[in-house]
Amino acid sequence: MTTSMFGAPIQRKEDPRLVTGGGRYLDDMGHRALAAAFVRSPHAHARIVDIDVTDAFEVDGLVGIWTHEDLPGKVGEPLPLLIPHPTLTHGRTQFALARDEVNYVGEAIVMVVARDRYIAEDVCQRIRVDYELLTPVVGIANARDGSALVHEDVPGNVACRMLQEVGDVDAAIAAAPHTLELELDIERSACMPMEGKGVLARWDTDKGELRIFSSTQTSTGVRAAVAAKLDLPLAKVECIAPDVGGGFGVKINHPWPEEVLIPWAARLLEQEVKWTEDRREHFISSAHERGQLQEIKVGFDEQGRILALDVKFWHDNGAYTPYGIIVPIITSTQLLGPYKPGAYRCEFWSLYTNTVLVTPYRGAGRPQGCFAMERTMDAIAEYLGIDRTEVRSRNFILPEEMPYDHGLLFQDGRPLKYDSGDFPASMAKLKALVGWDDFAAYREQAEAEGRRVGLGIGCYVEGTGVGPYEGGHIQIETSGRVNVSTGLTSQGQGHETSFAQIVAQELGVPIGDVFVTTGDTRRMPYAVGTFASRAAVMSGNAIALAARNVRAKALRIAADALEVSAEDLEIVDGIVQVKGAPGTRMSLGTVSVMSNPLRYAFDDAAKAATQFAGSNDPNKPPVADDDEPGLEGKDFYSPTQATFANGMHAAIVETDPVTAEIRVLRYCVIHDCGNMINPMIVEGQVHGGVAQGVGGALYERMVYDESGQLLNASFMDFLMPYASEVPHIETDHLETPSPLNPLGIKGAGEAGCIPVTAVIASAISDAEGFAITSMPISPVELWELRQRHARGEIPSLARPRHTSTSPGSAPVPPVQEAR
């Protein structure tokens, strides 16, 4: 091998196409398709009394109007509950079009199909729906109170109550020298991919075949769900994810109402039908995440070691639970981070509210869990007067304790068992990167200038690469072109590059010869989807295994032809050659020709594989009994459990003494996702994650009023950070390989965003001298907290704040350009 492709920070193959307008997203297709638009509920909770469409019929260009009444058979039944769980005793899903009750502003009630979207919206405006208003349940406190119900038949609004306990928490708390209690609050945010959802469906009447294009994170999932809903044989349904402009979780839930209705309408009308979600629809009818209230009780010793951790939290799951209770399960298990509390109990309630439903958003419950754990760590440090990194270190699981089994069940129904990680090493790197030990001196200097600064920290562990499986298929053409296919989908992660790097490495071919296809059920019908930081681990390893199969076959064929032993062969730059005697060689393209015995020569190269071309053994069939034609291989990767990546972040923030504006001066990341296929892509994932984390910590929230109206359903008022709000991100990596998979890799997709809220809260607390317990936080909120603190309503942090350990060595952080 000349250059190693695995681990090389090469630029992404897909970017020139994507950044020069060559992408083909859902709305770039189907220009002649009919367009769908929806009448959506303006009320959070109401009974539908009457739907009057008389005024709408006169609109020129109208094709059809449908309400729930019109939906036949399974199309009219509730959408599937994708992930059932024994504790999800009251799971509820919505109808594709609301039947008699609406449970959030934005729930679809009427579908209109017209010549174009303009007309469809004109028609929607003329449809009148009469409602009988019901009491809306908004906010976790109201849901928990339970005096008003979202679903009449769900008492207390409790979809699920779940309890996991390891050890005897009550006894350990009773015996602990110290205890502390915390109440925490974290707000809703959402994925907000640049491209919203979208579906285009084509029905081929002659063949009875349906082709669906969907901006989805799982084309196999959509295909199976739609086939089931429309009573079609799977063989008659194809689903393709074109270029997808971001997902971040919201597009893993499926089928969305539109994913059922658009194909159904296309078949009914025998015409192409398309729906492209607009931003307002995305805000009010896709999914949100994050909202939780948490209560924590912790018992610890003089050293700050946690003897018992007792966590209760209330999770807002919105109006329905199509994706089950994955998010709170992840919170309850991943909360533990890199630590090993003596005893642990977590009890949670997943509650219905009359708001948009909640499904995983990058991080998927982990930012909340990390917030709970890391706020607790800071509180212990504060209470004992011990450095915050020291308290954490004393609770770390040590490398020699790996694999470490927490004795809990993870989101995949398998043991929560960490495979590897070196937390003390990560901490040492982080302290060095941010200059932890010099901060006191820096602060002293800043305070002398009238500035207020704080340092924060947060650690996390992330279970990545959950099963059940993914597959890889590789086929080498006679030209030497290598076609790679895997069934999970891409939303901008760089799969065309990182998967190609694996194949280039395993096969010994130039990366330019490798072409990756994802998310096309025609090419790989068996797949699960892209979520849970699993693509590299699952498809990466499946593709590696497939490549190894193809390599073995190529060597076998070439060994035969060159009359040498396969062990003596190597593949370099797409050429199979004898090690040490590269003159004896043939290209992989030629091997491909020979792998496929031909009757007809379609070009010069193909002649070599035809029946009169060589010395065929007349006693053997052209394709051996245990062989197949073609230089092709397929394999699947299915692990016994998730692999656990980890990271630690630190930030320095500055708060304005007068206006309480918050500025992140430095943001430092130590990240360990095992072996890196492409460090540049990993870095990009971390940056993007941190940017979303900064959004969740300082800017984004879903502002519902008490009637359940979302007050900020636009990019004007929902504040995603711009580039100008995202700090420069300093990163360093540790590579602790996973022993679980052939490539030794762990997932990296969600990592960046997980601890940001905890880190920023920690830093602001440090700057202000009182604990921040509710996130996100805006300048106004900090300003008001200061006033409450001044009135004595919020206690000061116990530890004297201005202690300087190493005077004279204040590092000045690179301050960002003031705006």
């Binding site: 303009y118 607009d278 007068v658 502002v703 950070p721 711009y722 709000e725 300048p779």
Partner: protein
């Protein structure tokens, strides 16, 4: 997110434009840069039957600077005015404010006159018209008139322009020689509409404060200029307590709370920004005198 049907008119001259406006009356809307109007149409918050698109109209795209004024035509984009060096030399306040109007891509399309005609209390340029005691030039099929800023803004998103009128230009009045200006705002994100913004103009004379004025963004319904000279007149700019105008500022503003900031917070910001901008404007006034003395030329 698609507008309701409308008729698109693309007149080539002011005469044609106002003829259409006269015909369609209340059913019509002028379309300039579209950076405010198009989102409103897309969200169907308004559905005018006629759009009078002035982007093809000749003669509206000029910035002209005279001894007393900077005149800005109705098709001058924010970016064009921002980068206009002569306008900057004549009235630095314009650029100081314009860099805070949204982002470059929006400034490339949006017009300064459109922004003033739109009369959003959160817009920067209406407050600049107020601080400079400017004028709006309006033309209709039957008449032309000049509207002083005091008579122009009537309420949030309300002006004294009639549906038949086209604002063909605005004129910002230049400050007296030796005046320094400053603009600052605080927004949740860079380029967003401000939670509060303040423009200040301070003139010193013989080393003492002679004139001081403020105008506000996002904390008043109608942009107005507030004269705070009485608080500071005759004092030395180096030693003055610039927070002394706080009571006047409080009395002049009527901030409202929304999901981004409470009324109290905005009031605090307005007071703080008044202090900061007055101080900066005064420093610039002093510096302008210095430059004038050094070069013996006219001050900016």
């Amino acid at each position: 997110m698609k507008p309701a049907p409308f008729v698109h008119h693309a007149p080539r001259s002011v005469a044609d434009a106002v003829a259409v406006l006269a015909e369609v009356g209340h059913d019509g809307k002028v379309l300039a840069g579209g950076q405010s109007l198009i989102p409103i149409l897309n969200m169907r918050l308004a559905s005018p039957a006629h759009l009078v698109d002035i982007n093809q109209v000749a003669g509206l795209a000029d910035v002209t600077v005279s001894d007393t004024e900077v005149r800005v035509g109705a098709l001058v984009r924010h970016a064009q005015l921002e980068h206009h060096d002569e306008a900057y030399a004549a009235l630095p306040l314009l650029r100081q404010a314009l860099v805070n109007v949204a982002h470059p891509v929006i400034r490339n399309r949006g017009t300064t006159v459109g922004s003033i005609a739109h009369a959003d209390a959160a817009g920067e340029m209406p407050a600049m018209l107020a601080l400079t005691d400017g004028v709006v030039e309006a033309v209709s099929a039957s008449a032309s008139r000049e509207i002083a800023v005091a008579d122009f803004f009537e309420g949030a998103l309300e002006t004294s322009l009639t549906p038949e009128e086209l604002a063909v230009a605005v004129r910002f009045r230049r400050f007296a020689a030796g005046t320094g200006t400053s603009f600052m705002e605080r927004a949740r994100r860079h380029g967003d509409y401000a939670m509060a913004g303040v423009a200040a103009a301070v003139r010193t004379s013989d080393g003492l404060i002679a004139d001081a004025r403020l105008s506000f963004v996002s904390v008043t319904d109608v942009p107005r200029s507030l004269d705070v000279t009485e608080v500071f007149a005759g004092q030395e700019p180096e030693s003055v307590d610039w927070s002394a105008a706080a009571d006047l500022v409080h009395a002049a503003i009527e901030p409202e709370g929304d999901i981004h900031a409470t009324a109290e917070y905005r009031a605090m910001l307005a007071v703080e920004l008044a202090r900061l901008t007055l101080a900066q404007a005064a420093r610039r006034s002093v510096a302008a005198h210095q430059v004038a003395r050094d070069t013996e030329g006219p001050a900016a």
